[in-house]
């Protein structure tokens, strides 16, 4: 255990996305944030029907088209070209955010700069100078039934991203329900981090040492195992 090298042995983003994808429910409606979270769709388990929502007014979109086949009137919230699956629907922005705010999405998955043990999320602004941009993140965190985060467990400099409280500008308060990190799967329960799974190679003590708030246990801690070929 002591030979676990945090920066080398942690899961890469694709493997975090794979793990998050294993929890996609059959028949669910899901919004995947721009960038890293979008990768989850690629790992959707067979036999489960998941309908993807994008803020700009599309429900039931599918894979990206081949290069050269793009129709730039048909894009997702990240401005990438998409295609429509059977049963798709198109609607305007107010209806789209009615779906979001009205609690109709089963799951939203977002990235994070910081997550606090009370479920606070900071993922839109590093607070510095520059041009701020928020998009739909603040709506998603207060709308979907479950708000999951996919994130490296620590920053590039090795500092904890899971904290007692966020220091960066908040996206939403008390909104995160589950975190898929590069080291563990952690739920937010009653303003505490509850450890559900961890990489088998890392000890709980070592995991705690790179986590900025106390990890609580509630029964067994599962092994976070991701296929090698991901």
């Amino acid at each position: 255990m002591s030979d676990f090298n945090l920066m080398e042995d942690k899961l890469p983003n694709a493997k975090i996305a794979w793990r998050a994808a294993q929890d996609l429910s059959d028949g669910s409606y899901v919004n995947l944030g721009i960038g890293f979270p979008e990768m989850i769709a690629k790992f959707q388990p067979e036999g489960r029907a998941v309908t993807y929502h994008t803020e700009n007014g599309v429900l039931g979109f599918g894979k990206a088209p081949d290069i050269g086949d793009e129709d730039w009137d048909l894009i997702n919230a990240g401005k990438k070209a998409i295609t429509l699956n059977q049963g798709a629907s198109l609607f305007h922005h107010a209806d789209s955010f009615a779906m979001v705010r009205g609690g109709h999405l089963d799951l939203a998955v977002l990235g994070a700069y910081q997550v606090a043990q009370n479920g606070d999320l900071a993922n839109w602004s590093v607070g510095a100078k520059g041009v701020p941009a928020v998009g739909g993140a603040m709506d998603l965190v207060h709308g979907a039934k479950n708000v999951a985060i996919v994130t490296d467990h620590v920053t590039k400099r090795g500092e904890p991203k899971l904290l007692e409280r966020c220091t960066l500008p908040l996206t939403g308060i008390g909104c995160v329900t589950r975190i898929y990190s590069s080291l563990a799967v952690i739920d937010v329960v009653d303003a505490h981090f509850v450890l559900r799974e961890k990489l088998p190679e890392i000890s709980i003590d070592q995991l705690q040492s790179v986590t900025g708030a106390e990890l609580h246990l509630d029964g067994n801690v599962g092994d976070l195992i991701v296929p090698e070929d991901i």
Binding site: T51, Q86, F97, A98, V100, R101, G102, G103, G143
Partner: protein, 239 residues
């Protein structure tokens, strides 16, 4: 995961006593007559569901549909804008005998309260009803020199709707003015149940022509030759 039900009775089998139920339609246009009658059948057989709160623009007409529900004694309260119709005896009788409650809501406010529930907007301001007795007790506020009344969202446990085309993904279209409250109620209920005249495979409705996206619809049942409430009333049908 298909959303289609094998029968109308199955579609409404789990609606419990004391539920709040939105019923689509404006008069007979877009009214889900078969779903309502399936609910009445269940009540006659089992005594349930009873003590219902029903949300509709009207309060039934003649002796079918919502009027028949009221007459059967299933309805504790109506929330509507216009409980009058050419024949509203069922409601009028129970109301004047204090056997059914009425919450009267201006039509546009009713629509917006339902839409707000579906859209996650717990309250909004409207000029409608300011200074009238229908605004009694409600918070008011001035914006840009004009007075407004604050209204709350209106949610339901179930919605019973009538669509025209439906597909396995739950997408719906409506026929002519039969749209009315149906798409709003689809958004505002915990469980939305739609009868449709034509039920097709996923993708059988052009994505640009979908009026109610499937995310808002939980159950679909095909009723290929639906009854039209207005026609039934004119024929004097008693359910």
């Amino acid at each position: 995961m298909s959303k289609s039900c094998t029968s109308i009775s199955q579609a409404v089998a789990d609606i419990p006593d004391d539920s709040t139920i939105m019923v689509g339609g404006f008069g007979g246009s877009g009214a889900p007559v078969e779903l309502i009658h399936a609910l009445i059948d269940r009540f006659r057989l089992t005594g349930s569901p009873k003590d219902l709160t029903v949300i509709n623009n009207n309060a039934g007409n003649g002796s079918i549909g919502i009027a028949a529900m009221i007459h059967a004694g299933m309805v504790r309260k109506m929330i509507c804008s216009f409980p009058r119709s050419s024949n509203a005896d069922a409601f009028n009788t129970k109301y004047l005998a204090n056997e059914v409650e009425l919450e009267l809501v201006p039509q546009g406010t009713l629509a917006e309260r339902i839409r707000a529930a579906g859209a996650g907007i717990p309250a909004f301001y409207t000029p409608t009803s300011f200074g009238t007795e229908l605004a009694a007790g409600k918070p008011t506020e001035e914006f840009d020199g004009k007075m407004y009344v604050r209204e709350r969202w209106l949610k339901a446990d179930f919605a019973l709707l009538k669509g025209h085309m439906g597909d396995e993904a739950g997408n719906l279209t409506y026929r002519l003015a039969g749209r009315n409250f149906n798409p709003l109620m689809a958004m505002a209920a915990n469980t939305t149940i739609a009868q449709v005249t034509h039920l097709g495979e996923s993708g059988s409705i052009d994505p640009e022509h979908v009026i109610t996206p499937g995310i808002f619809v939980d159950r679909l049942v095909e009723v290929t030759d639906p009854q039209q409430e207005e026609v039934l009333v004119r024929e004097g049908v008693v359910y």
